[in-house]
């Protein structure tokens, strides 16, 4: 039953997406993108509504059933009644993927799925953070009755009761509605977020860059052991990576459809859910607004900035109000945020800390994919993926189309600013910086991995994997043309 309710929330999210961007009700790229984004939006709204009900009226099953039921029915009805028309997202122009690429993609999808299933069967309660934080909080919420606030008790500070409630809320909501506690709920939620992230990356790159880029990026993400495994471990890092990616994708789609502010409105909602997932999501919220403001001022115009900021704010209102209520009324202070200014100053002037953090970031960038779980190192890529990506870039190179410049800059700047913010936090806040780095930096990189892949493949040239068809024989001539000539041609095609 838990699974059924989760599917209904995803369907409600899809309904909302279809209401906002009506497309034909058939298997298509538009539907795939709506489904991927909609799954996360539906789950986010359901979690927020659950928390509001709990905070305002306590654990009342009938109230919860009415509120969540009304949301699901209304959203599905809106989506069902929406007439197809308006913005229909389709594959970007480009060659179809070569056969070997399709085979590799299918292999990665099957292997990723198998890894997730076997890992979940082996560890249905997830790993350390799952049972010491997320599922534990869910048990407090579900089993606690009127004393559900024990989940945020300062007597269990080691379980980080200040962490936001999207994940525990969803798990507890599924258990409450199903009237039974089952590990199927957290496993299903983990599954939905893991594979919705992959679906979102593939569909968005399909719309913006074409089938080949979508296929390559999707294969790489599904072949990232640590991404699938951390998803199956039921940690909140993969759901957070979903909302980070969704926010950035929606802002990039906004650039392709400048008049349709619904993309930015949804991006605001998604960024708000990122803040409702993990504390790092709060930083992402600030970072993505800053990145967007810089990009719009650099590539756009001031009126566009005001309109887009307004749309982001409108999308943010609902989830941010829930986060603010939680943080101000229920959450104990965060251990890192409660560092005294004098200590921060001391940390900031400690050269050794800077070097330690720099070394940690360098090592993680090089060895991304390896992770220590309960003292054992999870093997990642057989060869450091940073080196392979460097080789890929050397052979394929970047080529950013003029119309994608603001999109690529938004994505790259948001990821870079997040890393810079995380760097500053490591330098300034923790008492034991070595311990903090060893226990969290791999997951900080993981949170940004799907968005980083999106930025990379938005910028990368589409690889030429098949012999060029006869009519395009004139292209080498264009390549031989001088740089100014090429720029003019690019600008002309962008306008066209």
């Amino acid at each position: 039953m838990s699974l059924l309710y989760l599917v209904l929330f995803c369907a409600a999210g899809f309904g909302l997406l279809r209401f906002l961007f009506p497309g034909q009700l058939r298997p298509s790229l538009h539907s795939a993108l709506s489904l991927s984004v909609g799954a996360g939006i539906g789950l986010g709204i359901a979690s927020c509504l659950y928390f509001i009900c709990l905070a305002l009226a306590g654990p009342k099953l009938w109230l919860l059933a009415i509120v969540e039921g009304a949301f699901v029915v209304a959203a599905i009805a809106l989506g069902w009644r929406a007439q197809a028309g308006g913005t229909e997202l389709t594959w970007a122009d480009g060659p179809p993927p070569a056969r070997f690429l399709t085979v590799l993609f299918a292999a990665a999808a099957v292997l990723g799925l198998a890894l997730f299933v076997i890992y979940s069967a082996t560890k249905p309660h997830g790993e350390w953070d799952a049972w010491s934080i997320w599922n534990l909080h869910a048990r407090f919420l579900y089993r606690g009755g009127e004393l559900w606030k024990n989940a945020f008790s300062s007597r269990i500070l080691w379980s980080h009761p200040d962490y936001p409630v999207l994940l525990p809320g969803l798990i507890s909501l599924s258990w409450t509605l199903a009237r039974a506690e089952s590990t199927l709920a957290p496993i299903s939620i983990a599954f939905l977020f893991t594979f919705a992230t992959a679906g979102l990356l593939i569909a968005s790159l399909g719309v913006l860059r074409g089938r080949v880029q979508a296929c390559i990026a999707g294969t790489l993400l599904l072949g990232t052991v640590v991404f699938v495994q951390v998803g199956a471990m039921q940690y909140a890092d993969v759901p957070l990576s979903f909302y980070i990616l969704a926010t950035i994708v929606l802002l990039c789609l906004q650039d392709r459809h400048p008049q349709d502010l619904r993309f930015t409105l949804l991006a605001g909602l998604s960024a708000g859910f990122a803040a409702w997932t993990k504390n790092e999501g709060l930083m992402f919220l600030i970072v993505v607004i800053l990145a967007r403001a810089i990009v719009v001022l650099r590539f756009g115009a001031r009126p566009a900035l005001v309109r887009q900021l307004g749309a982001i704010a409108a999308g943010l209102v609902f989830p941010l109000a829930v986060v603010a209520f939680f943080k101000l009324r229920l959450s104990p202070p965060n251990d890192l945020a409660s560092t005294r200014p004098a200590d921060m100053l001391k940390h900031a002037t400690d050269f050794g800390r800077w070097m330690t953090v720099l070394q940690g970031f360098g090592k993680e960038a090089f060895l991304f994919g390896q992770m220590a779980v309960e003292g054992e190192v999870v093997r990642g890529f057989l060869i450091p993926i940073s080196l392979v990506l460097l080789l890929y870039w050397f052979l394929v190179r970047f080529r950013v189309h003029q119309r994608d410049r603001s999109s690529v800059t938004t994505a790259a700047l948001a990821v870079a600013l997040m890393l810079a913010g995380d760097f500053a936090i490591y330098v300034l806040l923790p008492r034991d910086v070595n311990w903090q780095l060893s226990t969290s930096l791999d997951r900080i990189f993981l949170q940004l991995w799907p968005a980083g892949l999106f930025a990379f493949f938005m910028a990368a040239n589409v690889p030429q994997l098949a012999a060029k068809p006869a009519p395009e024989k004139s292209k080498p001539a264009a390549r031989r043309a001088s740089k100014p000539q090429r720029k003019t041609a690019e600008a002309r095609s962008a306008r066209g």
């Binding site: 292997l111 309660h125 007597r155 309960e374 392979v388 052979l395």
Partner: protein
């Protein structure tokens, strides 16, 4: 074309080979584990104690693990996970104290000498004590 093909095959070949390699490890570990894994085993040691745990209950906790043993922290967290919605605190200054022991015949005399009265032995090294010095 060959250059691009090589780049794509290298990138994706490594990704697919890596996940295949790890999948073999995980599948091997799964097929070799004859008993149910970690958390379930730990929870089963507590028998029906979790049913008696109410949201108002606060349990103290003591273990015979050495403090530097990494499993000490994990088992404390798992005890809290098992006994939620009761709160478990790592102290013996509570009215009811859960003892998590690992030896077959743990020496409980030091605890009893400090005023702890045995309430129940759940088997598997889990005991519930009452600290009569706490009201």
């Amino acid at each position: 074309m060959a250059r691009h093909q090589f780049a794509v095959i290298a990138l994706l070949g490594i990704a697919v080979a890596s996940i295949f390699w790890v999948l073999l490890d995980v599948a091997r570990a799964y097929s070799h584990s004859s008993t149910s894994y970690g958390v379930e085993n730990f929870e089963n040691r507590f028998a029906d104690l979790p049913k008696a745990a109410t949201p108002k209950t606060v349990f103290g906790y003591i273990s015979d693990n050495r403090p530097e043993d990494p499993s000490d922290q994990a088992e404390f967290y798992l005890t809290q996970y098992t006994l939620a919605p009761a709160i478990v605190v790592s102290t013996i200054n509570e009215r009811e104290v859960v003892a998590n022991m690992h030896s077959a015949n743990p020496d409980m005399k030091p605890l009893q000498a400090r005023g702890f009265v045995p309430v129940r032995n759940f088997g598997n090294g889990i005991f519930l004590y009452r600290n009569i010095s706490v009201r």
